[in-house]
């Protein structure tokens, strides 16, 4: 299996300086299952030992899934100004 970061590295990114994803991590503290950590194809959401979620927004593949994967509405997502550019698509 090709590791995720190596696969993401195949793509062309123009990463925004400001994150385009914000997570209300106070909500994450009360979330046990953390579906965002297994539902994002770019592995953007990582659970920290304290239960909060860190969003690696620079990995984002802009699928849009962030709008539906958190049942508690903790993820605030908009598309980045730069972001990924696909060569094949």
């Amino acid at each position: 299996m090709i590791p995720l970061l190596k696969r993401l590295g195949l793509n062309k990114y123009n990463v925004d300086q400001k994150p385009h994803i914000e997570v209300n991590t106070d909500i994450c503290l009360t979330c046990k299952d953390k579906p965002c950590t297994v539902s994002c194809p770019a592995g953007t959401y990582e659970a920290l030992p304290d239960g909060r979620i860190i969003a690696h927004y620079e990995r984002c593949l802009e699928c849009g899934g962030a709008l539906v994967i958190c049942p508690f509405g903790a993820i605030k997502f908009r598309f980045p100004e730069g972001g990924v550019s696909y060569n094949y698509g």
Binding site: L8, P35, V38, S39, G65, G89
Partner: protein, 408 residues
């Protein structure tokens, strides 16, 4: 009218937006199209198969000029029943030129240049962040300032920025699929004018959906599409889904790109609002996707709905009444777009039931396994089928009912 920047602003330069733009420009409207990518297709991903009837209406000589990959001449279905059993069947039609594999970064870029040649103004790297009503029109906030128009065509894809900003969308993870895909370099072992689509179900456990392998000119599109609400139950996380799938299929070769995109999966009876005062939704933004078990398609619906939106826009602008967007809906109802969506609904909802893609294939595999096994005991086909159905808790009535909805 002078406070408006155009008659119509189209948000999104994919297939639906470009089709709307080409049609509206031909109708003589003053149109601006906003595309958030550096070029059309930069942000677009699709499985990669286009049924070309709508494209040929939009651009009659498209077949000679469009950057299509291969005509699809062979359909293969592979249904896995556990690791060790699978059911495979193929259908081949060598002269078939009804659908083609495509790569959207190439295709959409080409279509955008066609549109620009026809006089469509496209503003690239322009991201719409918000939309609201103001003085009988819509104001769009973008990264390059605000723009206003009395009519907006939302072609922004499944996330529908305009309708969503206006409070006209409420997304749930059961009505969206995640599409993940890799482009794999391959010596496609087929003649130049042949292409294959493989549709594969039940290879990865826990997810609701399936996988595909499409042959392009010198690459393969390998991917899966599964509902977001099934991802937490998947045996592999979303980030490894396509890799696990590719490995189990034994597909090797250099991986050139890894991409992902959400797919609308509403079905005819659950479509979101597709028109409102001053706004029209097209393509993915309108939730147009068909899965009837034979064809899985959104691109022809995107082109078709985009063209209708362009024609409707002309009528609405001529009437100078921007509340009359139901004109678009009436035209859609008369077109293949809504007719096909309605036709597909029976099988769409059957496929959508959890047992369809899990239990029935297993029953079928078990029956076949029994029929191909010889010992002293042997049942008739119908006895065996009933027994195998009963094992899975499915009554004959249920099976017959499902069979009938499968052929509707």
């Amino acid at each position: 009218m002078s406070s408006f920047d155009a008659d119509v602003i189209i948000v999104g330069g994919g297939l639906s937006g470009l089709s709307a733009g080409i049609t509206a420009v031909k109708e003589g409207l003053n149109v601006i199209l906003l595309e958030r990518g550096e070029y059309s297709g930069a942000k677009n991903v699709s499985g990669g198969r286009m049924y070309i009837h709508a494209l040929q209406k939009l651009i009659p000589d498209a077949l000679e000029r469009a950057p299509l990959e291969r005509p699809i001449t062979k359909e293969t279905f592979e249904i896995y029943c556990g690791e060790k059993k699978k059911l495979v069947f193929s259908f081949e039609e060598k002269e078939k030129r009804n659908s083609y594999s495509v790569l959207r970064a190439k295709f959409d870029r080409w279509l955008a240049s066609e549109a620009e040649n026809l006089g469509l103004l496209i503003s690239y790297s322009t991201l719409v962040l918000n939309a609201y009503r103001e003085n009988d029109g819509i104001t769009l906030e973008t990264n390059r300032g605000t723009l206003r128009a009395p009519l907006i065509i939302d072609a922004s894809g499944v996330t529908s920025i305009v309708f969503r900003s206006l409070g006209l969308r409420n997304f749930t993870p059961d009505k969206w699929m995640l599409g993940v895909k890799e482009i794999v370099k391959s010596d496609v072992n087929l003649k130049e004018d042949e292409g294959e689509v493989r549709t594969i179900v039940n290879l990865i456990q826990g997810v609701k959906g399936g996988g595909f392998v499409y042959t392009n000119k010198d690459t393969l599109s390998v991917g899966m599409a599964v509902t977001f609400d099934s991802l937490p139950k998947s045996e592999v996380p979303a980030k490894d889904l396509v890799e696990a799938f590719r490995e189990r299929l034994g597909i090797q070769g250099e991986v050139l790109e890894y991409s992902a995109h959400a797919i609308p999966y509403f079905g005819f009876k659950n479509l979101p609002p597709i028109y409102d005062k001053n706004v029209i939704a097209v393509g993915d933004s309108a939730g147009f996707l068909i899965n009837d078990g034979f064809t899985i398609r959104g691109m022809d619906l995107a082109i078709g709905s985009g063209m209708i939106a362009g024609l409707a826009a002309k009528k609405i602008v001529d009437l100078k009444d921007f509340t009359k967007t139901d004109i678009y809906y009436q035209m859609l109802k008369e077109s293949f777009v809504l007719k096909h969506l309605e036709l597909a609904y029976s099988r769409f909802s059957l496929i959508n039931r959890p047992e369809t893609l899990n239990v029935y294939p297993e029953v079928l595999c078990n029956v076949l396994s029994d029929m191909f096994t010889v010992g002293e005991e042997r049942k008739t086909l119908i006895e065996d089928a009933l027994l195998r159905l009963k094992e899975k808790g499915i009554s004959l009535t249920q099976a017959i009912k499902d069979m009938i909805s499968a052929v509707k």
